[in-house]
């Protein structure tokens, strides 16, 4: 029966279309679910429409919006013949409220002066539309609209609360724990303020979350809450034991609608019809069990998590004094910020500088993740082949629950001889030094080389001592050979005495010359000097000490006869007497000369 009517209507519709008759077409989905929003459209194919009415809507459908009107028109010119078409569409948005099969009644309108009726549409409502998670855009939008409550209504503990969750309940020291504060709300929460207390024995870092909180809908205890993760913390427990995060009080501000707005009040105070209500929300305390790390190895880096280490050298062949950079990268997840710098055992001859540490980590919900880069700058000072041993990194693996050692490769460095790094020192004194342009070694020794065996030393050798001995022997021979002369020379007095006669003879000869010249005064002086000098020399006595007495004494001591002694003394006396005596000077002089000569000759013969 119904089918037949639909068929008839459709046929009629087709006939009308064919005749370009004015008509109304209803359009709606055939099947919807409870709670689902859908569109109902009525299209009239003319612009001249008035008195559009729809029939009685079944109570299973709720009109959410409508009618909204939209019109369209089009013109066509084909081979000079103009055709035009236009239409008006009335759109309703409906929502189904209960299951069943319902028929939407026909709508009526007056088009071009004629009363026309639309077709009826049958809609089957079945099933439940899914909630927020269904992804139904319209419904979600509606859910996210603030569920504003009236002012003065109480906000119960189930309307607004905070749940705290820890990623792990039992960890080892240094193992990161993620603490999440999540807000569940049925009210219009606009602001939330709290302060995280400083916790003892734990290193806390807040995970940066977007400033703009976007709520999402979550079913909890049968109710649909708008939820948001308000804050997250990564905690690195530093001490074994119980880690207690105390209950936190959040100060929230909830907007409520004020129904009893005084219009004047609203006008002058900018009252918006809303009231801000302060609400304290208490987040529960959390306890986390922290286990101590097992016996730490000596070279434990302090790292807990999962790590890897790698090293690279920018060059393996350098000249001395040229710097090398060794890059050690510790990568992984865990307490990267709290690890010790890996120790690199550079050769002792390298000058090491403090490494440059580059932090390329980011805080994630797993802990700190990324790389820490250590750049070690070293300067090899001298040439040679060196080895930089592998770098060891010991950490505690939270997955296998034991210590693990990761190592890098070792490097071999070949250091060449560097550039001669001569430093110039300037002197700022007024005077300028002579500038030495360059200093260089002296030239080689050319010509023949004196080659000898290594252990041959002349000093102390046989030939040395031989030479010394030869000289000594020659010396002794000479001394022995010329002993007499030596002995003679050794006695100064004897030598003088030996020469006394010679000296006296010389003086007498001079006296003879003076006698011939007739210089009587000088003659007597010379003769006297010869006589006195002779005895003085002979007996090694100064002339001034001589007297007649001691001469006699000395001469007699040497065995000279008294006759000769008196002759000698007579000669002296006569010499002194004749000097001033009158008479023939020439005869006197010759007499004195003869006497003196005879006296000296005689004594010389006697003494010998």
């Amino acid at each position: 029966m119904r089918l037949k009517t639909i068929l008839a209507v459709t046929l009629m519709l087709l006939a009308q279309l064919a005749a370009w008759a004015q008509k109304i077409t209803a359009n709606a989905p055939q099947q919807v679910a409870v709670g689902q929003q859908f569109r109902l459209q009525y299209t009239v194919n003319t612009q001249d429409v008035s008195g559009f009415r729809i029939g009685q809507m079944p109570d299973a459908f709720e009109v959410l919006m409508g009618p909204s009107t939209s019109s369209q028109s089009s013109f066509q010119m084909v081979n000079g013949k103009t055709t035009s078409s236009s239409s008006i569409t009335y759109t309703y948005i409906l929502s189904a409220t209960k299951n069943g099969s319902f028929t939407l009644p026909a709508a009526s309108a007056t088009a071009d002066g004629k009363q026309i009726q639309s077709n009826t549409v049958k809609i089957t409502v079945s099933g439940q539309a899914q909630g927020a998670s269904s992804g139904n855009g319209h419904q979600r939008q509606r859910q996210q609209e603030p569920q504003m409550r009236d002012a003065g209504s109480a906000i119960g503990p189930n309307d607004l609360f905070i749940r705290v969750s820890a990623s792990k309940k039992r960890v080892v020291e240094q193992e990161p724990v993620l603490l999440t504060y999540k807000i569940y709300s049925l009210v219009d929460l606009t602001n939330l303020d709290y302060k995280m207390p400083d916790l003892q024995g734990v290193h806390t870092q807040e995970v940066p979350l977007p400033q703009q909180k976007s709520f999402s809908v979550e079913q909890y205890n049968g109710r649909q809450y708008r939820t948001v993760v308000w804050s997250q913390y990564v905690m690195f427990p530093q001490m074994p034991g119980k880690l207690k995060v105390p209950a936190l009080t959040f100060n929230g501000i909830v907007l409520q609608r004020n129904r009893y707005v005084d219009p004047f009040e609203a006008f002058f105070n900018g009252g918006s019809g809303y009231v801000e209500v302060k609400k304290q929300i208490v987040a529960p305390a959390v306890e986390i069990e922290v286990d101590a790390l097992p016996q730490r190895p000596a070279n434990f880096s302090g790292g807990v998590g999962r790590f890897n280490v790698s090293a690279s050298l920018d060059k393996t062949e350098v000249k001395a004094n040229d710097p090398i950079t060794m890059r050690v990268v510790v990568s992984g997840v865990g307490n990267l910020k709290l690890i010790k710098q890996p120790a690199v055992k550079f050769p002792k001859d390298f000058d090491c500088y403090d490494p440059k540490q580059t932090d390329k980590t980011r805080l994630t919900t797993n802990g700190v993740e990324g790389n820490v880069v250590y750049d070690f700058l070293v300067v090899p000072r001298h040439q040679g082949d060196f080895e930089i041993p592998a770098v060891e990194f010991v950490y505690y693996d939270t997955q296998t629950k034991q210590y693990k050692t990761v190592t890098t490769e070792s490097f071999k460095v070949h250091v060449e001889k560097g550039e001669g790094g001569t430093t110039t020192v300037q002197d700022f004194s007024g005077q300028e030094d002579v500038k030495l342009l360059a200093s260089d070694i002296r030239h080689i020794k050319t010509g023949d080389a004196e080659v000898r065996t290594a252990d041959e030393v002349y000093y102390g050798s046989g030939s040395y001592w031989g030479a010394i001995a030869a000289i000594l022997v020659l010396f002794i021979v000479a001394v022995v050979t010329f002993r007499k002369q030596a002995l003679a020379n050794a006695d100064v007095a004897a030598s003088r005495a030996g020469k006394a006669n010679k000296v006296a003879t010389k003086r007498l000869r001079k006296a003879a010359q003076l006698m011939k010249a007739g210089k009587s005064s000088e003659f007597y002086d010379e003769a006297l000097r010869a006589l006195w000098g002779y005895v003085g020399d002979k007996f090694n006595m100064p002339v001034e000490q001589l007297s007649q007495d001691n001469i006699r004494e000395r001469l007699s001591g040497r065995g000279v006869s008294d006759q000769l002694i008196s002759n000698f003394l007579e000669a002296i006396a006569e010499c002194e007497f004749e000097r001033y005596a009158p008479g023939d000077p020439a005869g006197n002089m010759s007499k004195v000369y003869d006497k003196a000569m005879v006296a000296i000759e005689n004594i010389q013969k006697e003494v010998k």
Partner: protein, 252 residues
């Protein structure tokens, strides 16, 4: 008989001449290699010459070659060897100082009393041989002057002879003392040069001994304990002491 002696002496002279010629030739070759800038070749030539015996000139030239090759360690070693043979040679001293100034370790010698320094510098003016020759010469002069004193009868000659002989005898004694000291140094060979680029001086003659300080190639050390074969106790001129492996140093 006489003829035999003549023959032998002749042949000896010929041998000697040829030997001198050969060595002169190769040394001239080495010298020309040096002058042409072929220092490596010059090193090998001088080295082969040094197989026949030691020589100041060869050591000195060898040192020059190494200096030109920028090997200060060997340069210092050979200059030191040359200096051991001819302590008074100015060229050797100068070049040694040049080479030393290019080595790494700057050692400030221990301060000592000025007369000790003077004594050392006087002693190192000549080698043991030089002092020996001087001693013989002084002894000869002593003898001549003594004879002069004994056998002349002129007073000034006798006086000259007497005092001159005394002075010469004193010189002879001093020459003997210096010569003896130089001979000791030469025979004991206590000086050594560090040949490895860097060595750790140990506190005990063992590999696990504490590292006292680091010395670098080209530094001169004095061996003070030569009794062990593998290890030597050394002293640096600034007074530091420690043990080094024998292979790390080369005796001058």
């Amino acid at each position: 008989m006489n003829r035999y002696i003549r023959l032998i002496s002749l042949s000896f002279i010929i041998c000697h001449l040829s030997f001198v010629n050969a060595s002169a030739l190769t040394k001239a070759e080495a010298d020309s290699a040096y002058m042409a800038g072929n220092y490596q070749q010059a090193v090998t030539l001088y080295d082969s010459l040094l197989q026949q015996g030691v020589s100041t000139e060869l050591y000195y030239n060898m040192g020059n070659c190494y200096y030109r090759l920028d090997d200060m360690t060997h340069a210092v070693l050979y200059y030191e060897r040359a200096l051991l043979l001819s302590p008074g040679d100015g060229d050797v001293r100068f070049n040694l100082q040049m080479a030393r100034s290019k080595t790494i370790d700057k050692i400030v010698p221990e301060s000592e009393m000025f007369f000790v320094t003077w004594y050392r510098s006087v002693v190192s003016l000549a080698s043991a041989d030089g002092w020996g020759r001087m001693a013989v010469a002084f002894f000869l002069l002593t003898a001549i002057l003594a004879l002069l004193y004994l056998f002349t009868n002129r007073m000034w000659m006798r006086k000259t002879g007497f005092f001159g002989a005394l002075v010469m005898l004193l010189c002879f004694v001093l020459c003997n003392i210096f010569g003896y000291s130089q001979k000791k140094d030469f025979e004991n060979r206590r000086g050594a040069i560090i040949m490895e680029s860097a060595v750790n001086v140990k506190s005990t003659p063992a590999h696990d001994g504490t590292d006292l300080f680091i010395l670098h190639e080209g530094t001169k050390v004095t061996i003070i304990d030569n009794t062990m074969r593998e290890w030597k106790e050394i002293r640096v001129s600034d007074g530091k002491r420690g043990w080094l492996e024998t292979k790390q140093i080369e005796v001058i």
